[in-house]
C-alpha cells in the first residue's frame, strides 16, 4: 500500500492531558505529524483535533482505532484529501519598501489572493488562506523580494460526507444506544469512507 496524505478528525472531551495521549500514539510508532490543530466544535464541551499525516491506509486505520480507544475520545475519522474541504492560513512578512517600490510584488499578492493585515513603515504582513501548494507558491514568488518571515497554521478541515455530530452525541449519552447507533459500524461498512 502506498503512503498518502490523510486527515484525521478526532472528536473528544475537553480534557487536560488528552493532547499528550493522542500525540504519543503517533510518536510511539515513529510517525511524524505534519500538522495538528485543536478547536472547539459546534457542540458545547466537545473538542476536535485535526491531524494530518502521510501514511498508508492500513496504518491510518489502526492509528484511528488506537485513538478511539482512549477513554476521552468520542470518535475518530480518517479521510483522504478529496473527502474533505480544507484550508490552511499563512502569514508573510515582507519589507514595505520592497512592495512600495516593486509593483510586481503587489501584482503577485493580488494574484495569490493575499491581503495586508498589518502595514508598518519597515514591514508589511500579508495573509492568505488556501491549500498547501497555494501558500507554498507564494513563498517562492516572494523569496526574490526578501521574505522576512513566514508562518503557516495547522490544517482545518470539514468532512464532506459528515452527518450531524449532535445526533451521534445524543447516542453517546445513552447507556444503551439503539442498534443503529454508532456501535460496530466499522465492522459494518468496511470499505466506505467512514470505515471506523
Amino acid at each position: 500500500m502506498q503512503k498518502k496524505e490523510y486527515t484525521i478528525t478526532v472528536y473528544t472531551e475537553n480534557q487536560i492531558g488528552l493532547l499528550n495521549r493522542i500525540a504519543i500514539i503517533f510518536s510511539r510508532r515513529k510517525i511524524n505529524i505534519e500538522s495538528l490543530n485543536t478547536s472547539p466544535t459546534e457542540v458545547d464541551s466537545v473538542h476536535r483535533f485535526t491531524i494530518v499525516i502521510n501514511e498508508t491506509e492500513d496504518v491510518v486505520s489502526k492509528l484511528c482505532r488506537q485513538i478511539e480507544k482512549q477513554v476521552e475520545v468520542l470518535k475518530a475519522y480518517y479521510n483522504t484529501e478529496d473527502e474533505i474541504v480544507w484550508q490552511e492560513l499563512a502569514l508573510y512578512k515582507v519589507s514595505t519598501d520592497a512592495i512600495a517600490e516593486k509593483v510586481k510584488v503587489e501584482r503577485l499578492l493580488r494574484e495569490y489572493g493575499a491581503r495586508a493585515v498589518a502595514i508598518r513603515k519597515d514591514y508589511t504582513v500579508f495573509e492568505t488562506t488556501g491549500h498547501r501548494e497555494e501558500t507554498d507558491n507564494l513563498i517562492k514568488a516572494l523569496e526574490p523580494y526578501g521574505l522576512i518571515e513566514f508562518v503557516r497554521s495547522a490544517r482545518v478541515a470539514i468532512i464532506k460526507g459528515s452527518s450531524d455530530f449532535h445526533e451521534r452525541l445524543k447516542e453517546f449519552e445513552y447507556k444503551e444506544p439503539g442498534e443503529d447507533a454508532i456501535e460496530n459500524e466499522f465492522l459494518d461498512k468496511k470499505d466506505e469512507v467512514f470505515s471506523m
Partner: protein
C-alpha cells in the same frame, strides 16, 4: 457583613458531612468493596495515610518494601480474585517506582487503581521536593489517568477510575492527588458508582450478522482450531467457552495468559501456543482451515513470523477491544464483543461435531514432543535435576489446585508448559511485558486475593534477586506464600539464546547468588535447599505442609534449554524440538 451571615446560615443548614479529601478516597474504596490496599507512605500522601489510621478495621493495608512490589502485589491480587487491585504510593520516586507495574498491567490487561500523592497544587511545576510529572510519565502505560487538585472531585473521579479499570478490556488507572486536595475539607454527599461515560464504550452491542458469518465458517470447516487468551478469564466466560468448544468438538490451545481458563487435562485442550509452547498447536496452526481466536491478541511470541502465520486459514477473531481486530492478523470475520455474550450466541448456531482425524494429528505431534522433549524433562536420565520434574512433583502434591505464580525466563516457560490446573485464575505470570521480579510480590498479592488456596511462587535465581526485599512484607504480614527458586546459576533464558544464536558467547549471564535459605532465615522464613532427586519429593511436601511461608531452593541443571522453540524470525511451523534442528 451580609455575605458573612449568608455563609454562616449555609453552613448550619447543610446536611452533608464535612470530610477531608483523604477520607473521601477511603470511603470510595469501601463503596467499591476494596478490602486490601498495597502501599507505601511518604510525604505527599500523608493526609491519606492519616485518614487510613481511622480505617484500620475496615481496610487492610499491606506495607510493601518497594512501590514496584505494591503494584505487582495488586496485580497478583486482581488476577486471582477477578477484582480490581489498589495501590498507594507517594509522589516523585514513589510514583516512578510504579511505572514497571503499570506497563505490565497495561499489556496484560490487569485492573489496578493506583493512588499517588502529589505536591501541593500551588507547587506544581516548580521542581518542588519529590515532585515528578507523574501524569505525563504514566500516560502511555495507563488506560486512564487524572490529576485531582480539588477534593470535591475525588468521589466522582474515583468512581470513574474503578469503572474504567474494571470494565471492557481492563487496565491500570492512576489518580494523582495533590496534598492540598487530600487535606481539603468539603461537603461530602456520598459516593455514587459510575456506570457510564459518554466517550467510553467498554463493550458494544453484539451484531448478530457477524455471529452468523462466524458460525457458517465453523460449520463448514474440516480442520477448525481454537486459540484462546486471557479474554476468556477476564470476561468470566470460562463456562461459556467450555460449552462452545465441547459442542463444536474443536481442539483448543491456550496462550500463556489464557492458561487455566479450561482445565489443562481437558480432552480438547491441546496445549500452549507460542515460542516455547507445545509442538502440535504451533505446527498445526498452519494446517487448520478455520482459526478461531478468542480473547487473544496475536502477540509476536504466539505468531512467530507473521507472513508465515496461518496464511491458509480463514480467521475468526472474537475480541472486546476493536483495536485488536485486524491489528496483527487480518480477520475474515471479526466479532467485536464481550465473549461472555458472543460465545453463547455462537454456540447456539454451530453444529455438534467431532473431528477424530484432526485430533489424532495433534496427538501424533504430542507423541513426537513427548519422545524428544517431555520425557527427558520430566523423567531425566541423568542425576542432574530438571525444572520440569519439580513442576511434575508439584502437580502431584497439589493435585493441580494451587495458584502458580511465575517470574520470567526459563522457569516460567517450563512451569507454564508442565503445570496442571483444575480451575481458572490459577496461573499468574507476566506475559506481555516479561517483568523479572514480578513473581514474589505478585504471589503476595495472590495469597491475599484467595487465601483459601495454596499459592506457589516459582522463581529463577535472577528474578528473585530483583524483588527479594518483599520477603520483608511476608515476614511482617504473614501471607502464606510458598517460594520455589529454580536455581540454575545462570540467567538461563538469555544464556540459552547466547548458546543457540550468539555462538556461545556467554555475555554476563553468569549470576552469583546469595545463600537464599540464609536470606529467607534472616526474614524469619524457614527454607531448605535441595540438589538430590531423592530429597525433592519430601522437601516439596515439607514446604507445602509448613504452616506459613517457606522457601525451597532447587539446584537444577546449569545448561538445560527450553524446547520446543519457535526461533525468532521463523514461522510457527518451523518449531524445533532440539538444538540440532535449529
Amino acid at each position: 457583613m451580609e455575605t458573612l451571615t449568608i455563609k454562616k446560615e449555609k453552613k448550619t443548614s447543610t446536611a452533608p458531612a464535612q470530610v477531608s479529601g483523604g477520607v473521601a478516597v477511603l470511603e470510595a474504596f469501601i463503596a467499591e468493596g476494596v478490602e486490601t490496599i498495597f502501599g507505601y507512605p511518604g510525604g505527599a500522601i500523608m493526609p491519606i495515610y492519616d485518614a487510613l489510621y481511622d480505617y484500620k478495621e475496615k481496610l487492610q493495608h499491606i506495607l510493601v518494601r518497594h512501590e514496584q512490589g505494591a503494584i505487582h502485589a495488586a496485580q497478583g491480587y486482581a488476577r486471582v480474585s477477578g477484582r480490581t487491585g489498589v495501590v498507594f504510593a507517594t509522589s516523585g520516586p514513589g510514583a516512578t517506582n510504579l511505572v514497571t507495574g503499570l506497563a505490565d498491567a497495561m499489556i496484560d490487561s490487569t485492573p489496578v487503581v493506583c493512588i499517588t500523592g502529589q505536591v501541593f497544587a500551588h507547587l506544581l511545576g516548580t521542581d518542588a521536593f519529590q515532585e515528578t510529572d507523574v501524569i505525563n510519565i504514566t500516560t502511555p502505560v495507563t488506560k486512564w489517568n487524572y490529576q485531582v487538585t480539588d477534593a470535591t472531585e475525588i468521589p466522582s473521579v474515583l468512581a470513574k477510575a474503578f469503572y474504567i479499570a474494571g470494565s471492557g478490556r481492563p487496565g491500570p488507572v492512576l489518580i494523582d492527588i495533590t496534598k492540598n486536595a487530600q487535606l481539603q475539607m468539603f461537603d461530602y454527599s456520598g459516593y455514587n458508582k459510575c456506570d457510564h461515560i459518554r466517550s467510553y464504550r467498554p463493550k458494544p452491542i453484539v451484531r448478530k450478522e457477524y455471529i452468523e458469518e462466524a458460525a457458517k465458517l465453523i460449520n463448514e470447516a474440516e480442520r477448525p482450531f481454537v486459540i484462546f487468551g486471557q479474554g476468556v478469564i477476564l470476561g468470566k466466560a470460562e463456562k461459556e467457552f467450555k460449552k462452545f468448544i465441547e459442542k463444536a468438538g474443536i481442539p483448543a490451545a491456550w496462550t500463556i495468559m489464557g492458561m487455566s481458563a479450561i482445565p489443562t487435562d481437558h480432552p480438547l485442550g491441546v496445549g500452549m501456543l507460542g515460542m516455547h509452547g507445545n509442538y502440535g498447536p504451533n505446527v498445526l496452526t498452519n494446517e487448520c482451515d478455520v482459526l478461531i481466536a478468542v480473547g487473544m491478541r496475536f502477540d509476536d511470541r504466539v505468531t512467530g513470523r507473521l507472513d508465515k502465520y496461518a496464511k491458509q486459514a480463514k480467521v475468526i477473531h472474537l475480541d472486546i477491544d476493536p483495536s485488536e481486530i485486524d491489528k496483527n492478523v487480518k480477520a475474515t470475520v471479526g466479532v467485536w464483543g464481550d465473549c461472555k455474550e458472543t460465545l453463547p450466541l455462537l454456540t447456539e448456531l454451530i453444529e455438534q461435531k467431532v473431528y477424530p482425524q484432526w485430533l489424532k494429528k495433534f496427538n501424533e505431534y504430542k507423541q513426537k514432543e513427548e519422545g524428544k522433549v517431555i520425557k527427558e524433562e520430566l523423567d531425566p536420565s541423568t542425576d542432574i535435576l530438571t525444572m520440569g520434574e519439580v513442576i511434575k512433583l508439584l502437580n502431584e502434591l497439589t493435585e493441580g489446585n494451587a495458584i502458580i505464580v511465575t517470574d520470567v525466563g526459563q522457569h516460567q516457560m517450563v512451569a507454564c508448559r508442565y503445570a496442571k490446573y483444575n480451575q481458572s485464575k490459577s496461573n499468574v505470570t507476566s506475559g506481555g511485558l516479561g517483568t523479572m521480579g514480578y513473581a514474589l510480590p505478585a504471589a503476595i498479592g495472590a495469597a491475599y486475593g484467595d487465601p483459601s488456596r495454596t499459592t506457589v511462587a516459582i522463581i529463577g535465581d535472577g528474578g528473585f534477586q530483583m524483588t527479594l526485599q518483599e520477603l520483608g512484607t511476608i515476614m511482617q504480614f504473614k501471607p502464606n506464600v510458598k517460594i520455589i527458586i529454580l536455581n540454575n546459576q545462570f540467567l538461563g533464558m538469555v544464556r540459552q539464546w547466547q548458546q543457540l544464536f550468539h555462538e556461545k558467547r556467554y555475555s554476563f549471564v553468569d549470576i552469583t547468588s546469595p545463600d537464599f535459605v540464609q536470606v529467607a532465615k534472616g526474614f524469619g522464613i524457614p527454607g531448605k535447599s535441595v540438589c538430590k532427586r531423592e530429597e525433592l519429593r519430601s522437601s516439596l511436601r515439607e514446604m507445602l505442609k509448613n504452616d506459613g511461608s517457606y522457601l525451597l531452593e532447587v539446584m537444577v541443571g546449569k545448561d538445560n534449554n527450553v524446547f520446543p522453540m519457535v526461533p525468532q524470525g521463523r514461522g510457527v511451523a518451523e518449531c524445533v524440538l532440539c538444538k540440532e534442528e535449529i
